[in-house]
Symmetry: C2
Amino acid sequence: MPTPPAYLTIAADLRAAILSGELSAGSKLPSESGLMRQYDVSRTVVKWAVAVLKGEGIVEGRAGSGVYVRDTTRLVRHARARDLRTGDDATSPFARDAARAGQHGTWEHDSRHSKADERIAARLAVEPGSPVMRTTYRFLADDEPIQLSTSYEPLALTAGTPVEWPEEGAAVGVVARMDAIGVRVDEVVERVSLRAATTEEVDALDLPARTFVHTIERTYTAGGTPVETADIVLPGGRYDLVYRIPID
Amino acid sequence: MPTPPAYLTIAADLRAAILSGELSAGSKLPSESGLMRQYDVSRTVVKWAVAVLKGEGIVEGRAGSGVYVRDTTRLVRHARARDLRTGDDATSPFARDAARAGQHGTWEHDSRHSKADERIAARLAVEPGSPVMRTTYRFLADDEPIQLSTSYEPLALTAGTPVEWPEEGAAVGVVARMDAIGVRVDEVVERVSLRAATTEEVDALDLPARTFVHTIERTYTAGGTPVETADIVLPGGRYDLVYRIPID
DNA sequence: TCGAATTTGTGCGTATGTATC
DNA sequence: GGATACATACGCACAAATTCG
């Protein structure tokens, strides 16, 4: 049986200490010098060990200070029919999820007219170049950025109606807004994927470099016709996604 | 404007070449010696650059051979009411997903009586230590392992019935099997999460070391009572998860 | 079959820059 | 300012796996 390399052994030890709670969120790992002495290895080995944990997203290095255990408390994003079918008293699904976690959910948005590129056109079943309402969102929980989203709606559907501008009417949420113009949304499809965060996402979400994100392609349809599609970006390891699907 | 470190520049160059298709799946990256000459840097820098890409799961090193671009074609796992409500002619949801991707889906399983630990007991709403049927699965697409799953059913529900042993009856899938004993499954909840793969998962799924996996906690309920719960493990970056949720 | 060349994996030592305390 | 800590980088060495003549 081959012995594992030293840097993996050290990484495993530190990981176990973190998962057991011995090293809690926010606490500092032993310094590189300390680990060098403790394991009698070179700085190279220590750096590779810590790099493994950084790659797993469970620690974060700060130059001049130390390496710290990241907060792993998870937010939960719920997707279920009941939450989407909102009434007049509704708040947004995001605000509700934040409230469930005891946090205060807010968001910034920016809506403007745009044209569908090939990817969005295919998802909305319109011609490339068709006019769409494009809205970018940045969601904050207790003032920390926690979710990005870019939403597209075909203007052929909403132009001139009271819900043309997503954040300016009384109705909240795609289902309620479409309902207000007589469009009955009856299905939502989400495609969940995983990839490394881009540098833009690292900046916008205040993430450590080289972390992972969940990406969700969400499309609402009414009678088979897409009425909204969105690209949603969530920090990986900070979110659990919960789907509740009725059967029959 | 600070210039990015050399190793990130090299990583970005290689990543761009991969994403653009210039370096296609299965092709070999330039050797470390080649990159050292090309960028006029030390071997250390090249190794850090490649380590970034390994951490992103887009390349894979093979000692003595080279570093290769990983296959990024994605399987799609569908979760929707229509697929779960299977009739007599049904195949498993997994086999159907594989067929959609033009692959041949098979699986191995191992069922045995067991006792619910705390975690499973909470999910099944039974007392810890209660008897359960525990079934482990290993799913293969074209003979390559692609998914792991461990399923638990309370024996209080199924013991002595024709569906006690999940893979031995005529009915396929949880919904159809429960239907056969008069239990009407009406909801499934899935919680999707993300974490680094364990060494066991790396072995069982034939993954390169230190990659990510999606984990899904799935629970079927009938009238609010849990009838089955499962832990599902999928290689990150190889799977897209699609959820289709009816509204109203 | 064998051995040499190549390539990655692991590891040591050192140096400089820069952020933090 | 000085001490400490991490980030980046150079050079070297040997082991292990693979490739290929």
